[in-house]
Symmetry: C2
Subunit: 294 residues, 2 copies
Amino acid sequence: MIDPDRYIEMKRKRINRALQNALPAAGPPVVIKAMRSSLEAGGKRLRPVLTLAAADTFGVDEHEVIEVACAIEMVHTYSLIHDDLPAMDDSALRRGKPTCHRVFGEAVAILAGDALLTHAFEVLARYGRKEFCAQKAVRIIDELAKAAGVKGMLGGQILDLEAEGKELTAEQIEKIYILKTGTMLKAAVRCGAIAAGASESELVILTRFASSLGTAFQIVDDLLDIEGTAEELGKPVGSDSTHGKATYPAVFGCREASLKAEQFYRQAVEGLDELERPTELLCSLADRIVFRKK
Amino acid sequence: MIDPDRYIEMKRKRINRALQNALPAAGPPVVIKAMRSSLEAGGKRLRPVLTLAAADTFGVDEHEVIEVACAIEMVHTYSLIHDDLPAMDDSALRRGKPTCHRVFGEAVAILAGDALLTHAFEVLARYGRKEFCAQKAVRIIDELAKAAGVKGMLGGQILDLEAEGKELTAEQIEKIYILKTGTMLKAAVRCGAIAAGASESELVILTRFASSLGTAFQIVDDLLDIEGTAEELGKPVGSDSTHGKATYPAVFGCREASLKAEQFYRQAVEGLDELERPTELLCSLADRIVFRKK
C-alpha cells in the first residue's frame, strides 16, 4: 500500500534539495536571490512530483529524472512570477508571502522569471549530455517548450487577460483551464514518462490521465479560492473573483463545480486501467490532489 | 573575393524568410502579432548571419543550420522587448519604430518576450529531432541557455540596471559589455560552428574571435549613439547617456573609444590566422560590422 502523503512529502524534499543544487552557481546576487526565494516559497511541487511518479510507474528511479522534474518546476515558478507582475494580475501575495516584484522590484522580477525559464532549458541540456539521454532530452525540451508556449500555458495567460470582466461560456472557461494548468501538468507527466522510456501508446494513456487531472485540479483550486480561508491558502480569499476572472464556480456555482471536479477525477483514474503497469501510485496521488483542503 | 555586403544581404533575406516560417502556426493572435512585429522590426540580423557564416567556414550549408540561426535571433529579440519595458530602460523607440509595449501594452510585451524565448528552444528541439542532430542540439541548447542566462546576457542587464548613475571603471564597463553583447555574439558563432561539427580546438579559436568582435561591436554601437543622427540609428541620439549608462565613449571620450574598437577588431581578425579553414568570410564580416555607419 502506498501512502500518497508520505510519497509526496518524500519527493517534495528530494525536489527541494535538487532545486537548490540546480540553481546557477554564479551571477549577479540579486537575481539569484530572487530566483531562489521564488523557488523556495513553499509550493506544493505538484508538477515535479507527478514527473517522478510517472517515471516511478515505469520502474525508473528518481535520480534518473530529477533534472527533468526540476526544469518543470522552474518553468512553473517563472510563470507565477510573471503572472503576478503589476502589468498582469498585480498580485501582492503568493503562497502567503510577498510576490517577487514586491520584494525585489519589477525589473528584477521580470529578469528573475526570464532567468528561471532560461535556466530550465540549461538544466535539461545538462540532462541531455548524460549517456544515452540526448534524444530523450530533445523530446522533453520539445514537450516543455510547447506546453509553456503560445499553444499552452502562455496562450492561456493571454486568453485569461482578455477574458477579464467578460462573460464566458463553459467551453471558453475550460479552454483557459486546459491551457493555463492542463498543458503543464500534462507535460510534467509526459516528460517523466518519456525520460523513463514509455512507449507511444503508454504516453497516450498517461496524457488522457493528466489532462483530466489537470482540469479537476484547477476547479478545486478555484473552489478553494472561494471557500478556503486566507490562512489556509496563503493568498487573499476571493482574489480571482475580485479581478472578474471567469472560473467554474463563478459560472456554475460551487456545487456544480464540485461535481465537475469529481467527474474529471473519475475520468482520470478510470483511464489508467488500460495501462499495463502498476497504477496505484498515480491513482492515489490524483486522489490527494483533487480532494485536498488547500 | 567575397562581397560582405552582398553576403549579409543574402543571408538576411534567408533568415527573415525562415523566421516567418518558424513562428508558431497557432495561438492567441495578439501575442503572435507582437512576436512577429518585433521580429520583423528590421534588425541587422548580425547574430544569425554570424551563425550561418561560422557554419559556412566549415563548408556546411545554411539549410542545415538555419533553425539554429533563427533560435538565436528569437532570443536576441526577446531580450530587446524586455529591455525596453517601462520597468527596465523604458524605451519608446526601437529600430525607428514604437517598442512592443507601446504598441501592444505591457502585459502582451512581457508575454511576447517570454514566448519568443520559449519558442527558440522549441525550434532547437525541432532541429534536434532531425537525423544525427540530437547531441549537437543538446550542446547548442546548453550554449544558448548559458549565453542568455545569469552568467551571460541577463546578468549583464542586471549589472547595467545597477550601474545607472554610478561611476564605473573601464573593467566594470567591459564586463557589462561582454555579458550583454559579447556572450550572445559568441554563442551565435559557436552554435553555428558546433552545428557544423567544429572540433574543440577550432571552437577555442572562434570563441576568441567572437569575444573581441563583440566588444568592438558594442563600442561602435555606443559611438554611433553619440555621433549618429536619429534617422540613421532609428532611436533617439544619446539615449544611452540620458539614462546615465556607463559607456566607453562617456568614460574615455570618443577618440580613445574609437581606438579601442579598432584594437579589438584587429585582435579578432588576427586570431583567426590559427584556424586551418578559409577565414576570408569571417574577416570581411568583422570589418563590415566594426566599420559601419549605423
